[in-house]
């Protein structure tokens, strides 16, 4: 039973006005949306039904936080995503890569800019030639030939520096990850 934003919003608003049949209809219509949302993000996990029910309860108990003037689906998926993040936090499992971007946004821009600063910090730990080659070819978007010309070294030298530098960075990131968790 696929529903549109307009239909879901109308049910929500009637529920907020005290119409319990509309409220029940809304919750029933949200079940398949939640199931596919969580199934796509919790591959092979059996917690989907628990999470669907938790989210239905959250939507019911916190329905006052929906602003009638704004998109219902945006509110709904923000609640669903929060329940997912909280669930993953409790399970202490890794957050799927596809969601990191939205989690960064929801946690505030500081974290995104910290990530950018991390790259600068990591590059500073490399020999200057490797750092420069990576910065030129991967961050500022130069071609290998342009990077070689601007650094005054050969093209194969640039390629080898990038390769070695990235390998060293990967090893470093892996070891700091182990320290953190």
């Amino acid at each position: 039973m696929a529903r549109s934003e307009e239909q879901l919003k109308a049910l929500m608003v009637r529920g907020l006005d005290g119409d319990s049949a509309a409220h029940a209809g809304l919750l029933r219509a949200l079940v398949p949306l939640l199931q596919s949302f969580y199934r796509r993000r919790l591959r092979g996990e059996s917690d989907v039904e628990d999470l669907v029910q938790e989210t239905l309860i959250a939507i019911h108990t916190r329905r006052a936080t929906y602003d009638r003037g704004r998109s219902f689906t945006a509110w709904f998926y923000a609640v669903a995503r929060y329940r997912l993040i909280d669930h993953l936090r409790r399970q202490r499992t890794a957050v799927p890569i596809e969601d990191v971007e939205s989690i960064l946004v929801s946690e505030g821009f500081e974290d995104a800019s910290n990530a950018r600063m991390d790259v600068g910090g990591l590059l500073a730990t490399l020999p200057p030639k490797q750092a420069r080659s990576i910065r030129d070819t991967h961050l500022t978007g130069k071609t290998v030939a342009e990077a070689a010309a601007s650094a005054g070294i050969g093209e194969s030298d640039v390629k080898v520096s990038v390769h070695r530098g990235l390998k060293a960075l990967a090893a470093r990131v892996r070891s700091t990850r182990h320290d953190e968790y």
Binding site: L16, A21, H23, A24, R28, E49, V79, E107
Partner: protein
Amino acid sequence: MMNTDILIANLSEDVPKVSRHAVARRVGTGLLVGGMVAMIAVTTLLGVRPDLHVAMRGFAFWMKWTYTISLGLGAAFAVTRLARPDTRSLQALWILAVPVLLLAGVCINELARTPPAKWLAMWLGKSWMACPWLVLSLAAPIFVGLLWSFRKMAPTRLRAAGAVAGLAAGAWAATIYCLHCPEVSALFVLTWYSLGIAIAAGLGALIGPRLMRW
């Protein structure tokens, strides 16, 4: 595990009408109850300044109240925004810098009209060591009131929500503290009031993620 259909039937048994202003009302109630506790603390423990009725006819008192109340209103608005699972940008919160900048303007004017030899005394006043801590202490009950408000809310940016709740608690605590504090310098207010308010906001950001989870 309970069947989802039964759960929905149970949840739909109790569907009270929800006002459009439910969030603002609940945040307002939390601020008001916490503010009343802070008010009782000022009147019984610190004491209202005896010359309050005279002070209320002067510039300094209203300079202080304009600063703390405008900050408090802005922060309370930010709280209602962050109490919802909103994905909108937080850029609008820069408006909270306006009261600070206006007060900084008053400070420059004040410094220009005071001989430099008196600047230090003006800056430290008589209560600079106590002021930030008293503001912070008075913010505690207001912050607790806001935590009560948040129990029915759905914040998704918990650190930011904690920070603005702390900011609102600090600004309203400072507003109430004005009833006791006899200081008259804008430079004093900009430094020591703001310090207390900022510490409240920082602590809010620190403990928000732990206390506002749902």
